[in-house]
């Protein structure tokens, strides 16, 4: 799953070192257009439905946080 997520992220922004970044949102590395694309990709790739209330910085600041969110969503699914 991690690989799959990294593929999506690297496709989205080849210029970002996702494994190193700890504040993707707080530092403004990912902007609103990135998030719109990302959310739709995550929804279709992982068969989840990310809700507006999940769109909080702590869920997207790192690759780990995103993984956690996806797992949580799949379990709830």
């Amino acid at each position: 799953m991690r690989e799959q997520l990294l593929d999506i992220l690297n496709d989205l922004r080849p210029d970002v070192e996702f494994e190193k970044e700890k504040k993707l949102i707080d530092d403004g590395v990912l902007d609103s257009f990135d998030i719109v694309s990302l959310v739709s990709e995550l929804n279709s790739e992982f068969d989840v439905e990310i809700n507006v209330m999940d769109l909080e910085p702590e869920n997207f600041n790192t690759v780990e946080a995103m993984l956690e969110l996806i797992v949580k969503m799949q379990e709830e699914g």
Binding site: P14, D15, L30, V52, M53, L55
Partner: protein
Amino acid sequence: MQRSVLDYLEESAEKFPDKIVFADDKQKVTYREFQRQAKAVATGLIEQIQIGRNHPVVMLIERKIESLSGFLGVAYSGNFYAPIDYQMPAKRIELMLETLKPKAVIVTENTRKVMEQVRYDGPLMELQELQCTPVNQKLLDEIADGRIDTDPLYAIFTSGSTGVPKGVLVSHRSVIDLIDNFKEEFGFDENIILGNQAPFDFDVSVKDIYSTLKNGGTMYVIPKMMFSMVARLIDYLNEKKINTVIWATSALRIVENLNVFSKKVPEYLRTVMFSGEVMPNKVLNYWRKYLPDVMYVNLYGPTEITCNCTFYKVDRQYEDEEALPIGVAFKNTDLFLLDTDRKAQVGPKEVGEICIRGSSLALGYYNNEEKTREAFIQNPLNPMYPETIYCTGDLARYAEDGNLMFVSRKDYQIKHMGHRIELSEVEIAVNALPFVEAACCIYDTNEEKIVLFYQSSEECDKELLRQLGKNLPKYMFPNRLEHFEKLPLNKNAKIDRTWLKENYIL
């Protein structure tokens, strides 16, 4: 008669001295205090450097209300401000400074370090220090006496096809024309509470800032993060009782894309205006479904005619597939459609280039006579006396009901995520990279992606984007990269754009 936008501030500060005029997530300021800050900045500028009149002062901006006291301060000093985002790549800031040759650059404690990377040897002044200058009212009165309404207020940069951004210079008169029209047409008054989305180096924010000052309203600067991490956006709008938004179309689209209204809706919104690119009715219908009682207004216009020249108050239902009109011209603005040669008007139902006549016209591109002459031309319909019109490069036609319908661009300029971009500016930046042999950009309108085709000995997407970041802001980055060992050429030995388009873009 009002001669400058400072009259807006003077009048509102007298009527509502203790009302909050601007606020962001950290600070807020009353009319009285804001006026004092602006006057202090002006006094500081005049006393510390030989600034003169009608000269450019760069304001290195952050998304903070402080920047606004810098804007009005420069105006009080009798000069014009040029906002530049401190996050712009240093090389691009240099290009802008080369064009402007500013009398001073105003920085903040935070943004000072940016200038260490930028070649510039003029005065650097710190906003917080300027704000502490004791106001010299006599000095400011002298400047006010000599002010005329065609003096420039600001220069805002847009993408340039030669690789150098163009600074659109706009006068007090043009802004007064716009803001007075907005008040009358949309019924703004002192109860207006604006939620600002547009960055201050983007002219959409001109409407927020000066509508606030004109009407004695309040403007909240919505944190940028709330447009990606949207969980808190609606709470914010409700908490601040925001009733009016003048946003980029792309911001409204984000709300639809992320289904933001599924949990909560804004409770105080009365007026929603949008501009920057074509509004898809699918997006607008989403908003209308949740907020049926709001007045929706489609605004159209380039920076060169001071934000907007037409408006359309949405007055009927539209299917998702239908196109939304750009409407009719504002009062005191004349709009007509010219043929390809810019010699005559087109027939009643024909497509033509939107051309504008009126007080809303910008003064020109600062320090760029050549580009100014191309777009600001003598009215071909009037050979009898000097009269300038602005040719937008946008094609449109009139619909049966008299509303204007946007058709497309005339050239390589595109609207991408609300930003106006000359594809050749991106191409020039890519071609300048040492490891790139050749490159061209095509815009994929369906996918809304800038597609870059480049030729180099090996694939180097990552390196290319990283290098590009030194010259171009992120919104100008190509969204899809296609590497070629050899790019296809047509029979004129030019890159075969047609073939690339047919084979790579559906």
